[in-house]
């Protein structure tokens, strides 16, 4: 017992690490690495789920990029959402974060009210918004028309469906508010005092003190926002379904992206190709496009040193 060699201690500590890490190691291999390799494999196969898969070379790839009518609209929508929805979410989230740090009376009540929508289940929240923004009988348009403002068609108008989704995303800003609030409260007070002594205006203090201090968090919000947009699935799907009045299980085939492909996102294509058209091979092509885009942005997120996510200790 007294002669515990260095080698055996090393072995023990390696075994210990392995034991503690094992749930994730198994999970990573079985539920991530293996299916990811299979996705690559299936992307080169013709497979409908019944007949055994057969080699099809680049046919699925050519089909998705050249002939699948939904791919480019979905990619364009994703770019729109990245540019407009992510930008507005970060700006609005920062605004609400600033506002909550300035509120001195009833802070807890305000913070809770601002945070609650973030918790609303996406399906429920989307259905609520589909109702609220319903052009015929929805309360929002009733109020707009009473005020003499021309009321848009929201989820029923291709030009307004993405702005309507953006509105829904701004409503659920609670997570960003909390993150920005924590960052804003961390800005050293001395820097504000020094700036004030130098006669800096409110805007100058924001521009030269607040922004530089919170810029890693802003960057974090942008990159995670972009990654979330790559996964954006439930809200656009439910909004399109409810607005089009499709009845589930009644034999009506739902036109993806209603109205006029305007709410299509890339994840919806995986479902459409794989589980509605039983073209598993082409679905895997879209899945790999999604993988490449998400990994690109994740790499960006982790490359930034000294902020965001710190790997070391």
């Amino acid at each position: 017992m007294s002669t515990v060699t260095l080698a055996s201690r090393h072995r023990r500590s390696a075994l210990r690490t392995l034991a503690f890490m094992s749930p994730w190691l198994i999970g990573f291999a079985v539920f991530f690495a293996y299916p990811l390799v299979s996705t690559v494999y299936f992307s080169f196969m013709h497979y409908d789920g019944f007949k055994p898969p057969t080699w099809s070379g680049g046919k699925n790839w050519a089909y998705v990029f050249e002939h699948y009518p939904l791919f480019w609209p979905a990619l364009r929508n994703t770019l729109w959402l990245v540019l407009v929805m992510v930008t507005l979410r970060v700006v609005f989230g920062l605004g609400i974060g600033l506002l909550i740090t300035k509120i001195k009376t009833g802070t807890g009540v305000f913070r809770t009210l601002f945070y609650l929508p973030y918790l609303a289940p996406p399906v429920a929240a989307t259905m609520a918004f589909a109702f609220l923004l319903n052009p015929g009988t929805g309360p929002v348009n009733s109020i707009l028309e009473k005020a003499g403002i021309p009321a848009p068609g929201w989820f029923n108008d291709p030009a307004w469906s993405k702005p309507a989704l953006t509105l829904l995303a701004l409503w659920g800003i609670g997570d960003l508010m909390v993150i920005f609030m924590a960052a804003l409260l961390d800005v050293p007070a001395e820097q504000y005092e020094a700036a004030e002594l130098d006669g800096a205006s409110v805007w100058q203090r924001f521009r030269y003190v607040t922004l530089p201090n919170i810029s890693p968090i802003v960057m974090f919000a942008v990159v995670t926002g972009v990654i979330q947009t790559m996964q954006y699935y439930t809200q656009p799907l439910i909004a399109g379904k409810v607005a089009s009045g499709v009845i589930q299980g009644a034999g009506t085939q739902f036109e993806p992206g209603y109205p006029d492909k305007s709410t299509l996102t890339l994840p919806q294509l995986v479902y459409n190709l794989g589980f509605q058209r039983f073209d598993y091979g082409s679905a895997c092509v879209v899945a790999l496009v999604l993988f490449a885009l998400s990994m690109g942005f994740t790499g960006l997120l982790m490359r930034r040193r000294g902020g965001l996510v710190q790997a070391g200790d």
Binding site: T17, P35, L119, P122, M127, I217, L290
Partner: protein
Amino acid sequence: MTQVLDKPVELRAPVSPAERTARRRALLEWIAVHSLGVAAALFFTLPFVFVFLTSLMSDSQALSRDLIPHTWEWGNYKSVLRTPGFLTWWKNTLIYAGLGTVLTVASSIPVAYALAKFRFRGRNLSLMLVISMMMLPPQVVIIPMYLFWAKQLDLSGTLWPLIIPMAFGDAFSIFLLRQFLMTIPNEYLDAAKVDGCGDLRTLLKVVLPMARPGIAAVALFQFFYAWNDYFGPQIYASENPGAWTLSYGLESFKGAHHTDWNLTMAATVLVMAPVILVFFFAQRAFVEGVTLTGVKG
């Protein structure tokens, strides 16, 4: 009369014009900030209010443009609860969310602990892989996963393909817990070691009690993830209404009652309410969790 009123004013120290403008500016700022706050509060709460009011309207009124119910139809909630399937969806959601949460927490804790406190080769790589998995859309691997569960294990039409993987760690939970465990000083672990605690004993007796807020945050996030999940049940459970969850069922509910906004909104309230109720009991864990995942570790 005027003299009496003037007296106390004379006693006060004279207010310099500069101080008076400063005070006035502070008051104006208070008013501006709080009016903005009220406006924002309306934006965030009015949707809930309108949904709730509509849930209490009669069928015909829900199709009108009125905002306030003429008669308060509390019976709408009874009709929703009596809808075939609704209670089954609740049960399934509780099983998925409850079992999934327990499995996730139990399997993620040791991994997070190793990533936070053990020194080993490949630790940074592992952490990066965990973060990458966290950022990955579930659709990327869904085709092979579906084929695996449905064709090889014949488990489609159940929620097991969603629950079983949770016994093997969840990337987001591992990351959040790791961020939390990093904040526990190493001195506590060293002290436990000096007292003769093995790794497992240290984790169970020293670290876990200190990590309770972090574990609460992970459990809540995981519970709500399952509660809110639509994609998973759509892939695996859609063919069997007996396995539907609330999120999936709610959408089909709208399909079956597609003109009855009042009933649909009552169902929506019934799906939202538990989440909001739980939040009021566990506010701190939530806010802490969001902060931990958003701010540098």
